[in-house]
């Protein structure tokens, strides 16, 4: 008898396809249902992976707390940098020794107290977690004391708008091109395949700059910089949305073209392997149509590709960071870049935190999806259980 699908435990009262399991739940009650729920191999897998990712997040957050603090220098000193020293009447300008040292020390101490930097490191760490649970990442220095959570939230949206469509479309196109090239071994599909490989091998920042130079600067087909023309103020009008799409196109293309090759090469080799496997050769002998054979082979060749999602997602986040800076797309990459340039430690921490969460959450979802998609993996959970 096949084991109870795990989702049935989510609705123990349901009359289900598996009468035996439903009956069992009915008899032993909700408590037992709960125990059984957690005893299910897939749920155990989820808990185990979830715990791993939770620990990874804690470790990631801890690192983002300590790394800026281990860097030399004090953010308060950066804040106290006068705007244009040496000029009449300005901060630090016409101010010889009289009154200056005391003023500096007083302001510095007040700011350190305000930002909690006067406390021992372990206390700062505790405060960091307390604030985190309240969704408070502190104020940004570069963005003039605006809450970091708000700034990062906005940037995250811009990054996801780039990453998610690129991930999905590159997956589809890459696999399609890889499969077609593997089957035909010549012609346009092969050309496209080798082309995608070529683009995938290029250093990403360089490729983005080349695209920007050729298509925006030279050909004038796309705007060079930003997410909309500054003459158009953001609203929901069609012309504004079209303008955003026009600005979106180039960073999107840069990421897409660079990402397709990653999928293509995997699919190409897997298809070659599958097409030479026994079951395909047997079907060939039986006189199956080529189209049918391709369909069977593709289905099996696809499975390992799903495992690539994790890697590609992590890589894509890194590539997006660079692409955003090149094209002035206001996502996490541009934000992190600005945070580094302006020594905005809270913002830097916020950007790291969100990036860590996105990557780990993405990986976690991929793990779950992979379990659902691939019956062998699902069976593996059960067998381990």
């Amino acid at each position: 008898m096949s084991p109870t699908p795990f989702w049935l435990f989510l609705r123990p009262e349901a009359k289900t396809v598996n009468d035996a399991a439903a009956e069992k739940v009915k008899v032993r009650g909700v408590l037992h249902g709960g125990v059984a729920f957690f005893a299910h191999p897939f749920v155990r897998f989820l808990v185990s992976r979830g715990t791993f990712y939770l620990l990874a997040i804690v470790a990631g957050f801890t690192m983002t707390f300590f790394i800026p603090r281990l860097m030399p220098g004090n953010p308060v000193d950066m804040m106290l940098r006068p705007a244009q020293p040496g000029l009449p009447g300005l901060a630090g300008g016409a101010s010889p020794a009289v009154g200056r040292a005391a003023d500096f020390a007083r302001i510095r101490a007040a700011l350190e107290e305000f930002f909690g930097l006067d406390k021992p490191l372990h206390q700062q760490y505790l405060v960091f977690w307390q604030r985190l649970f309240r969704g408070d990442l502190g104020p940004s220095f570069a963005f003039s004391m605006q809450p970091v959570a708000e700034i990062v939230g906005r940037a995250l949206l811009f990054t996801l708008v780039l990453v998610v469509p690129v991930l999905l479309l590159s997956f589809y196109l890459g696999n399609y091109i890889g499969a077609s090239a593997a089957i035909s071994q010549r012609g346009v599909s092969s050309l496209v395949y080798y082309g995608s490989l070529f683009f995938a091998q290029m250093p990403f920042y360089w490729f983005a700059m080349i695209l920007s130079f050729l298509l925006a600067l030279k050909a004038g087909l796309f705007p060079f910089y930003g997410w909309h023309s500054p003459e158009l103020l953001p609203n929901w009008s069609l012309s504004f949305l079209m303008n955003v799409a026009w600005h979106y196109a180039l960073p999107f293309l840069a990421l897409l073209i660079g990402s397709i090759g990653t999928w293509t090469v995997g699919m190409w080799s897997m298809m070659l392997y599958e097409m030479r496997s026994d079951y395909i050769l047997y079907c060939q002998q039986l006189g199956f149509r080529k189209r049918t054979l391709k369909k069977y082979a593709k289905r099996n060749a696809m499975l390992p590709q799903y495992t690539g999602f994790n890697l590609v997602l992590s890589g894509l986040i890194g590539q997006t960071v660079i692409t955003e800076v090149v094209f002035g797309w206001p996502g996490l990459g541009s934000l992190g870049y600005r945070a580094i340039l302006s020594r905005d430690y809270p913002l830097l921490m916020g950007t790291f935190l969100v990036t860590v969460v996105v990557v780990l959450l993405g990986n976690f979802l991929m793990d779950i999806l992979y379990g659902l998609i691939d019956p062998r993996i699902r069976t593996g959970y059960v067998e381990r259980g």
Binding site: P72, G73, N74, D77, M79, L80, R81, P82, A83, Q84, P85, G86, L87, P88, G89, L90, A91, G92, G93, A94, S95, P96, A97, V98, G99, R100, A101, D103, F104, I107, A110, L111, F114, F141, A142, F143, S144, M145, Q146, I151, Y225, G226, P230, E231, L232, L233, P234, W236, S237, L238, F240, V325, G328, P330, S334, Y337, R338, L341, S342, R343
Partner: protein
């Protein structure tokens, strides 16, 4: 199937229909002046906070502006010494806040005496002020302490860039937000209580994203009656992640007022905006005016980096012209040994040219070696000092060659720190290494992330440093510049070389004398013979001691495009000094510039003003 079809149609209608109905908000290009180059991102229009947004300097106004060497009224009508300890200020009768209330003497006193002393602004002002008094609604007096007659610090603060805030609003803001509201209150113009949206300036914020901020003209501006409304209806500031992106925008005419470095600017002629682009010098080298001093800072806590003969030897080793061409397209010119640019009003008036003539270094490696031979000898490929003090600033100077008579300390190898990413500075440091190496002293450039670089010089943890920060050029004063660079406590964004050190006041005596003279200059009336004598003495000490080596006057990155707006200040139209969009130390002057702009394209006649390549 039918249901999903209907849902799809509904979504399409909603997705396309609503945007189609919404009207785009377009700002006509010829209605807006686009500036770029200021570094703080928008969002905080609080002049007291850290990271004040650019627009703040147009929302609020100072009492006065500096135009060349003259004090010009903005909110203030006049300022004068009543006696050596009393300054009287008259505020313009027309000056009003946007809520209609008059700008009063109480507002000025509140700003200067209550708000600013709590901040890292106008340092030293409070220590010199005895009290302030409002004589009437529009007249106030500032009384100085007896030991600070004619204080330049106080005069500089009152005539400089301090933005005046409305007392009746900011006392309310403080009551709601509490201390330290100045640091956390964003003064966000759009969502705050309408009754708090009170300022006096000619522009107010209307839109802001992390990429730009746009201000809209205040049609009810009080200055309309005095000067008329500025022609640009909008004023915008754009942010670019890279210099390259900013320069492309400038080339295309997307930026009118640029404060960015543009390499080989004469090559912009072939770009779309090329016919409209100009610089301060009307397209002739060096294109830009003088700005802050690029200098080599020696750590005076380390022997023999404190020795004037070493500074002079290095000064004669540098090939100034070559370094300028290679690192910054030939824009920068060698700095005077007295530091202050002769282009500044004070520099032109008070530079002692006799001192310059007798002490100004130039590229002469043989002379550099001759200086070294006087104080050092060569051994095993290195220079060693012929003698050295037993102890320098509390640290024993160890004998490095005990077999040679005397105390001998090796010159180098030393490191020279420079911020990573400041490409012109990095290249200059590499060229310093080359030229100093030519006279037999090894120097290794160390490129540091800016935070690390800052931490190093705040802790005096360096040997040599490439330094290029701080005001200069047209606005520089001897007192302001010298006090910033050579007095105070190292580690407090001042006195970077530690030449004068409060812990070792007698080492060297020249530094002690320099600081005493500077304090004397603070309380010496301007334009007097005493002032000239004092400034000359200060210059002489600097020229002889050379505590830091002024290498170049950095270029003042002011360039503009007349594609949409004209009447920018230039050497031929000098109603203002060159003024970059980051000249926030002098907001009154920036306001004068914007209100002087005229609408309309005006190409620069290429036959009359051709681009002249620097090399």
């Amino acid at each position: 199937m039918k249901v999903s079809w209907h849902v799809t149609v509904c979504l399409l209608v909603l997705g396309l229909g609503i945007p189609a109905m919404a009207q785009p908000v377009v700002i006509p290009r010829d209605e807006i002046v686009w500036a770029g180059g200021y570094w703080t991102l928008p969002g905080n229009w609080n002049p007291l906070g850290w990271g004040t947004a650019w627009g703040t300097f147009f929302m609020y106004e100072p009492l006065f502006a500096w135009v060349h060497d003259k004090v010009v009224g903005i909110i203030g009508e006049s300022i004068a010494w009543v006696d050596p300890w009393t300054i009287e200020i008259k505020i313009r009768d027309a000056a009003r806040w946007s809520d209609g209330k008059p700008i009063t003497a109480e507002d000025v006193i509140y700003t200067f005496d209550y708000l600013y002393p709590r901040h890292w602004k106008n340092l030293g002002y409070d220590a010199r002020r005895e009290r302030s008094e409002a004589l009437s609604e529009k007249v106030l007096r500032i009384y100085l302490k007896k030991e600070f007659p004619y204080s330049r610090v106080v005069w500089g603060a009152l005539t400089g860039g301090t933005l005046i805030l409305p007392k009746h609003i900011w006392t309310e803001i403080e009551a709601v937000h509490g201390f330290p509201y100045e640091w956390v209150y964003n003064n966000d113009w759009r969502p705050i209580k309408p009754e708090w949206r009170v300022a006096s300036g000619m522009y107010f914020p209307t839109a802001a994203t992390p990429e730009y901020e746009i201000l809209m003209r205040n049609e009810e501006w009080w200055g309309k009656a005095v000067w008329g409304l500025p022609q640009p209806k909008y004023l915008g500031h754009r942010f670019f992640a890279t210099n390259y992106a900013a320069n492309v925008a400038f080339e295309r005419g997307d930026l009118d007022w640029s404060g960015f470095y543009y390499p080989r600017i004469w090559e912009i002629a072939t770009k779309p905006a090329g016919p409209f682009v100009n610089t301060w010098t009307m397209r002739k080298p060096p294109y830009f005016a003088h700005s802050s001093v690029v200098e080599i800072v020696f750590n005076h806590n380390i022997y023999p980096l404190n020795e004037p003969w070493l500074h002079h030897a290095i000064a004669y080793a540098l090939n100034y012209r070559d370094i300028s061409i290679v690192s910054v397209s030939g824009y920068v010119e060698q700095a005077l040994v007295t530091r202050i640019s002769p282009q500044s009003a004070e520099g032109a008036k008070l530079t002692d040219w006799d001192i310059v003539k007798s002490h100004q270094p130039y590229y002469d490696p043989e002379k550099a070696i001759a200086i070294l031979e006087e104080y050092c000898f060569r051994h095993g490929g290195f220079w060693y000092t012929k003698d050295a003090p037993a102890v320098w600033r509390g640290t024993p100077v160890e004998d490095m060659l005990p077999d040679v008579p005397g105390r001998n300390v090796r010159l180098g190898p030393w490191t020279m720190i420079v911020p990573y990413g400041w490409t012109d500075s990095m290249m200059q440091t590499v060229l310093f290494q080359r030229d100093i190496g030519e006279i037999g002293i090894k120097v290794e450039p160390v490129f540091l992330e800016f935070g690390t670089y800052t931490a190093k010089f705040m802790a005096m943890d360096f040997q040599l440093m490439h330094f290029c920060m701080g005001g200069g050029g047209y606005d520089a004063t001897f007192h302001g510049n010298y006090s910033w660079n050579y007095t105070g406590t190292p580690g407090q964004w001042t006195n970077f070389s530690g030449w004068y050190h409060p812990d070792f006041p007698g080492e060297p005596p020249s530094a002690q004398e320099f600081v005493a003279l500077l304090d004397q200059l603070d309380i010496t009336a301007e334009g007097t013979p005493e002032e000239k004598v004092l400034v000359s003495k200060l210059q002489e000490i600097l020229a002889k001691e050379m505590p830091t080596l002024p290498v170049f006057y950095n270029a003042y990155w002011y360039s503009f495009s007349q594609m949409y707006w004209h009447n920018w200040p230039t050497l031929e139209n000098p109603y203002l000094q060159p003024l970059a969009p980051w000249a926030v130390a002098n907001p009154g002057a920036m306001q004068i510039l914007v209100r002087s702009l005229k609408k309309g394209a005006q190409p620069i006649p290429a036959d009359e003003y051709p681009w002249v390549p620097a090399f």
